[in-house]
């Protein structure tokens, strides 16, 4: 594809399944299952949209391309993304999205890419026909009361709606199949489809509930399915801003990821935010996870740096990755928070083993000015995450451990005072109440 200009982004770090060849043997037969390809990512200076898009397929591809187009400043890349979205959409049946994309293109790509009204109309007509057919089939099944066929009928309906972008209806149809599920395989299938649609709709509460439902089925699940479920759960947690839980879930995903969702984000992104040292240890030690890391060397470098306390380079990498991360649908909103947390984690880790730290050296290590560093440290100290005091005159940070004994005495005296206060107030009040009551009683009597 034509090179994109001056894209300041480096490479993408979306992480995908490691090299497990083979197509899924998952029972899900719906057309919306997204297939993942295994392809090593070439690190380059510019964001290669085609390569990026080739890693996804299905509806998510389109959504991601649209997101890219919305968020990227570079108009060349924008147009590229939109063009690919257009092509993709033509292959499918989603006329609503098609119209949206066309609007966005706004005639910039030439006459070939304008609203293809005839195509739209044709697609719509086909859609209506199919819908009628499905409905009649479903009614027939319902009168026959054959469970299996009813279920399949609803399923087909769900698929149909999904292909056309009517996500709410798709969700409803999938949920209706629940009543007709006989084996746990069916249940799993239903759950997976429901999860997929809910992710698309952004309703992550449903995702969590269906994930737990799927996990509760009595039959043993195939590893790919487990992995898919975990990914979905991780995504849900991410949305809910429970980064730690999300991190754990993603870690458990493991290498069995086979064909899993391509909506998944690099679990590494989540590991950045994890607040527990132990969790990070698990990240490196987890051999399975290593396979992921192999595919994204930059991220591996980053984690290594974090551990060996080369904070400057670590933060540099982070800065590079940031722009890429902003383009990803799911993590977009959380980038800022995650980055802040990583930074404060780095600061805390740095100061942890020392009794006193020269702030100038620390500022160099973190590539900020002393004043800025002082402010950051101050906020961390006030939040009680670092136990230290700043000597502003000499610019040194001294570790300080609270004197437990004194603190206890102080607390004791204070509690005594509060008790005194409360009890006296209580006694006075009780007295007043008694008088009041007596007054009322005497008035009644």
């Amino acid at each position: 594809m034509d090179g994109e200009d001056d894209a300041p982004k480096s490479l993408m770090e979306e992480m995908y399944a490691n090299g497990i060849e083979g197509v899924d043997d998952a029972p899900s037969s719906s057309t919306s299952t997204t297939i993942r390809k295994n392809r090593p990512i070439i690190s380059g200076e510019q964001l290669d949209i085609e390569a990026y898009a080739a890693l996804y397929s299905g509806r998510t591809k389109i959504m991601r391309l649209i997101f890219l187009a919305d968020h990227c400043d570079n108009s060349g890349m924008q147009l590229e993304a939109l063009r690919m979205a257009y092509d993709e959409l033509k292959k499918g049946e989603n006329t609503q999205l098609f119209r949206e994309v066309v609007q966005k293109i706004d005639g910039r790509l030439g006459p070939n890419y304008s609203t293809d009204a005839t195509w739209c109309a044709m697609v719509d007509r086909k859609a209506d026909q199919r819908k009628d057919k499905l409905e009649s089939e479903l009614n027939a099944y319902r009168t026959n009361l054959i469970k299996e066929s009813i279920r399949m009928g609803y399923n087909d309906f769900g698929d149909f709606y999904y292909a056309h972008g009517a996500l709410g209806d798709a969700f409803k149809s999938y949920v209706r199949t629940r009543d007709y599920c006989t084996t746990s395989k069916h249940i799993i299938q239903m759950c997976l489809s429901a999860i997929l649609v809910s992710i698309e709709m952004g309703q992550f509460a449903h995702v969590t509930s269906y994930v737990s439902k799927a996990e509760q089925t009595p039959e043993a699940l195939d590893p790919p399915i487990i992995a898919k479920l975990r990914c979905a759960a991780g995504l849900a947690h991410l949305e809910a801003k429970k980064y730690k839980l999300a991190a754990r879930k993603f870690l458990e995903v493991g290498p069995e990821l086979g064909n899993s969702y391509s909506e998944v984000i690099a679990p590494q992104d989540i590991s950045y935010s994890s607040n527990a040292f132990t969790l990070q240890n698990k990240v490196i030690d987890n051999i399975n996870f290593r396979n992921f890391l192999e595919l994204v060397p930059e991220v591996r470098e980053l984690i290594n740096d974090f551990y060996s306390s080369h904070y400057a380079s670590c933060l540099e990498y982070l800065g590079n990755l940031k722009s890429n991360l902003m383009l990803d649908i799911h993590i977009h909103d959380h980038v800022e928070t995650l980055y802040d947390q990583i930074r404060s984690k780095a600061l805390i880790q740095y100061t942890h083993p020392f009794v006193s730290v020269d702030m100038r050296m620390m500022a160099d290590a973190f590539k900020t000015s002393v004043a800025g560093l002082e402010k950051e440290l101050e906020s961390l100290i006030t939040d009680n995450q670092i136990q230290a005091r700043i000597d502003s005159h000499n610019k040194i940070l001294y570790a300080r451990h609270a004197d437990q004994r004194n603190a206890t005495f102080q607390r004791v005296l204070q509690t005594g005072n509060e008790f005194d206060w409360d009890v006296r107030a209580m006694l006075l009040r009780a007295n007043l109440l008694k008088h009041e009551y007596n007054l009322r009683a005497s008035r009644k009597i």
Binding site: D391, V412, L427, L428, R429, A430, H435
Partner: protein
């Protein structure tokens, strides 16, 4: 005339033993009306009675004497008489007729005010209180009068000493309210002008505590309608808790009466807004707000407290700095606390060091302040004594609480109410608590 003379004789005769005194009391009660009828002519008879022996009778006579309107000249002599009576009377006898005593003392106060010499009334009133109280934990109707006299005569110290006593029993809620109110005014005016000279600073904090206690009691007391005292008390409550705790509860606790909860907030709007802007932490905002509403605060006589609240905000900010920094330049302090210049910062820090609120040393050469740890090591004998006495005090307090609880559970009215609302599970559950108590 004869009846009065006869009465005098009986008083003289029956004032020795306790049983006699009781019978005397009955006689006096019956003769009360006739005494009042002859009030103008009773004065010479008073000379025949000795207040230190015939206190009860003297009291009745005195009360009847002073019942009518009093002129200034008469007031002078009355004041002398009553003062002498109060100092020399027998406590047990007058406790038999507390209402009369209270009336006499109140009239005493009126006369003293009439003569515009409130100072003369302070000491006798204090003695009167001591004699009237069954114990020092009782609040009598004379307490507020006493405080009023102290206020008017500017004897804040005497007033303060009575404020510091623990009060647990109250005869009339209205007394408590008035008492608290005068106490507030006393400590506040004292704070503004005379406090710094007369009283060491350490009392400031404990007075504040006490005020907080009293105002909170007034505010949460049972009320059927909102009275003016409660409103004033609430205003001061907000201000004092801002000064003391750095935050003010804008919602009354749940046990406050519903009337209070609904209405007090509406009536004290500017104070609530002040509390809100305090919690936002921007000093500039607060100061502009105070300037804007100066008249309102002044009309409530709360301007002093408001100013104290604002300055406490600076203090709190500086105290927060001691938690994070070991040394800090004066310029930095000024910046962080939103003061105007390092000079001002230095003044504030100096004042706080003097008040003992922070521990620091100022290095003027470098313009640096070095924050030190609290040097209290809790190892000295005085500290141990202090802790010990606190423990003792709290133990007595909790025993008292238990005692009150027991007393309450034996109270017939309470049992009546509780008995009626008891759950009955089973027929056999009916035990001997009857439905109604016939007392």
């Amino acid at each position: 005339m004869n009846s009065v003379e006869g009465l005098v004789n009986q008083i003289q005769g029956l004032s020795t033993t306790a049983s006699d005194v009781l019978s005397l009391q009955n006689l006096l009660k019956q003769a009360d009306d006739s005494l009042h009828a002859e009030s103008t002519r009773l004065l010479p008879f008073l000379d025949q009675l000795d207040p230190s022996k015939h206190s009860l009778g003297y009291l009745y006579f005195l009360e009847a004497c002073t019942a009518g309107p009093v002129t200034k000249e008469q007031a002078g002599s009355y004041v002398l008489m009553i003062a002498r009576f109060i100092t020399s009377c027998i406590a047990e006898q007058i406790r038999l007729a507390p209402d009369k005593f209270i009336t006499v003392c109140k009239r005493f106060k009126d006369q003293v005010l009439l003569l515009e010499e409130p100072l003369r009334g302070v000491a006798p009133m204090l003695t009167a209180i001591r004699k009237l109280q069954p114990s020092s934990e009782h609040l009598t109707a004379l307490h507020p009068e006493f405080l009023l006299l102290c206020l008017l005569s500017r004897c804040y110290k005497a007033g303060l000493s009575i404020l510091e006593e623990d009060v647990f029993e109250v005869d009339q809620p209205r007394d408590l309210f008035l008492f608290c109110y005068y106490g507030l005014v006393a400590s506040q005016t004292g704070n503004d002008k005379h406090w710094k000279k007369v009283v060491p600073e350490s009392i400031g904090a404990s007075t504040q505590c006490m005020l907080l206690l009293y105002t909170s009691v007034v505010v949460t007391a049972p009320m059927s309608t909102v009275n003016a005292i409660a409103v004033e008390a609430f205003k001061k409550y907000i201000l004092v808790s801002l000064i003391h705790h750095g935050q003010s509860p804008t919602n009354l606790p749940k046990y406050a009466s519903s009337v209070a909860q609904r209405n007090l907030k509406n009536l004290c709007q500017p104070y609530i807004e002040l509390a809100n802007s305090y919690s936002n932490g921007k000093i500039a905002d607060i100061e502009t707000y105070v300037e804007a509403n100066k008249d309102k605060f002044e009309s409530d006589n709360n301007l002093g407290l408001v100013k104290q609240a604002v300055s406490s905000m600076y203090k709190r900010n500086i105290q927060r700095l001691t938690q994070t920094y070991l040394t800090l330049s004066l310029q930095d302090i000024a910046n962080r606390v939103q003061l105007n210049s390092p000079k001002e910062a230095e003044m504030h820090v100096l004042q706080m060091i003097k008040d003992g609120e922070i521990y620091a040393t100022i290095n003027q050469k470098d313009g640096m302040v070095r924050f030190l740890e609290d040097p209290e090591q809790y190892k000295t004998c005085e500290m141990i004594e202090h802790i010990d006495s606190s423990i003792q005090r709290l133990m007595t307090l909790s025993k008292k609480l238990n005692g009150v609880d027991e007393l309450m559970s034996c109270d017939p009215l309470y049992l009546l109410k509780a008995g009626r609302e008891r759950q009955r599970f089973d027929f056999d559950d009916f035990d001997n608590v009857p439905q109604r108590f016939n007392i």
